[in-house]
Symmetry: C2
Subunit: 332 residues, 2 copies
Amino acid sequence: MPEFRQNFITNEWVIVAPERAKRPDQFAKDREKKPKRLEHDASCPFCPGNEDKTPPATLTFGEGKNWQLRVVPNKFAAVNTALLPTRRSVGKFLSADGFGIAEVIVENPLHNEMLSTMPVKVVRDVLAAYKNRYAAISKNEHVDLITIFKNHGEKAGTSLEHPHSQIIATPIIPPHVRYLMQRALLYHDTYGVCPYCVMLEEELAQKDRIVFEGEYFIVFCHFASRTPFETRIVPRRHYSRFDGITDGELDELAVILRMMLRKLYVGLNDPDYNFMISSSPISEGDLHYDHWRLVIVPKLTTLAGFEIGSGIFINIMPPEDCAKFLREVNAD
Amino acid sequence: MPEFRQNFITNEWVIVAPERAKRPDQFAKDREKKPKRLEHDASCPFCPGNEDKTPPATLTFGEGKNWQLRVVPNKFAAVNTALLPTRRSVGKFLSADGFGIAEVIVENPLHNEMLSTMPVKVVRDVLAAYKNRYAAISKNEHVDLITIFKNHGEKAGTSLEHPHSQIIATPIIPPHVRYLMQRALLYHDTYGVCPYCVMLEEELAQKDRIVFEGEYFIVFCHFASRTPFETRIVPRRHYSRFDGITDGELDELAVILRMMLRKLYVGLNDPDYNFMISSSPISEGDLHYDHWRLVIVPKLTTLAGFEIGSGIFINIMPPEDCAKFLREVNAD
């Protein structure tokens, strides 16, 4: 029976329509694992030996030619550090020069590995690089929103195979983000607690959408998930900015993120996916009503006209079934 | 130089980043036109002779076996007319049974034609069927939002080849739609005019994003377009509900919609696309601050982590260039 479900934070509705569902493993059957590529590609700008094909690194782990991870400014960035975001009228419309900071985290020297197939130490380094660059970039006086994300595979919007993630910092808080924050603020005004903390407690109480309970992090497919296997990794501790993460939390997040990506790789045959870290705007410090989170969205379905027009997503796979499947996939 | 641009209605920002741009015709070069299929497919539920594979039609144009267009309930609907949308608590979360009406408009008996390759009369019939079903469905006491849309091609979310569009009616106004309406209402409260009318006038005054000026409709790629070749067809006359369209307007809309889809077919080699008709909620009648519109979104780029996380779209093709290209494509 189809069911409308409301997102606890945004009040956005999704339709969970299991009549149209595939079994979880059918999402895997539609696809073969991508062929194994070579360890090194001489034409890849992120492979060792081609360091001069990128702008100078803003952060390097490892020594000289034996680097283990590099962060470099994005050569083909959609934003530009040389501009200023002053608003300007174009008739009745509004624009601003495209100031922003865009960096690429080259996760590893190997061209053909992925976060899901690399040792935990590599994932730990990647997360530490996120924190390091987040903290450094947040010192720029014009930066307000910092988005950390990864596009894995063509359907997720990348054509570069070498494992990498990205950071884009903008001077602008878009309505998409402000709307979420205002909903959370009103909830806090009303109930005196962070709605993300409440959502986490409620998911823990209902239990059937929980994928994993760590010491510091909970993994779940939330009640009103918009797409199959959409998964959140949320810290138990309340804090709103990603760079507040402790060393112990980084250790556990590395293990959990690798495990979740590995479950997708093994259980769904290496699907394309995006993940994003949502964190509070820089100008507002640590907020009592906001709560950072990492969201993984596998690209298994297509956005169609109904979703674009109405904003209501049709999810053919109940999050309870997704969580059960993910719990049971052996990712060792 | 990259530029932030703000959507006049939603205040949402996009980054127009022409440094990363392809030339418009390169979007065509990436793709070949789909191979011509057979006129009739015995296994297609929408082809003549298979009328018993769909539920009984709610509207038919033409006589008996010589039907020209059929509207049928969607056999695999994500919503169900037998339910009621009463809200129900699931712990702290909210759900409702999935009431809704979902119909498919089978646009033509021919399996292998498209709106862009069929005569204007067929497109006129399709639009008349939209109006007829919109008006009929709006009489259902539980219906509030009616979304008319078309998914053309796999990347747009359809696997059925036979030319068809869809209507989904829901009892719920989602925040996505309400937010747009509230922005428009506040604008009207402030300036005493419909913001969509103002946007139309401003686009006409700036001129370089106008694709076509008809007697009743204007076609343009708006200032803050999120994706390349996103195109709006908007009535000059102010009214907020699609079913207020007159016969003369229907005549012109058929010519214009076919022309625009033909320009995509010819100029960009038959890209996958969605189009959606956005129209006011049923329960609120005709609104002085809302304005229906038809939006065409070709699927030429991929939603990536930055867009999902921040809500800021990066558009690599300035709408001025898209409008110029579309003006110049010969679609005769």
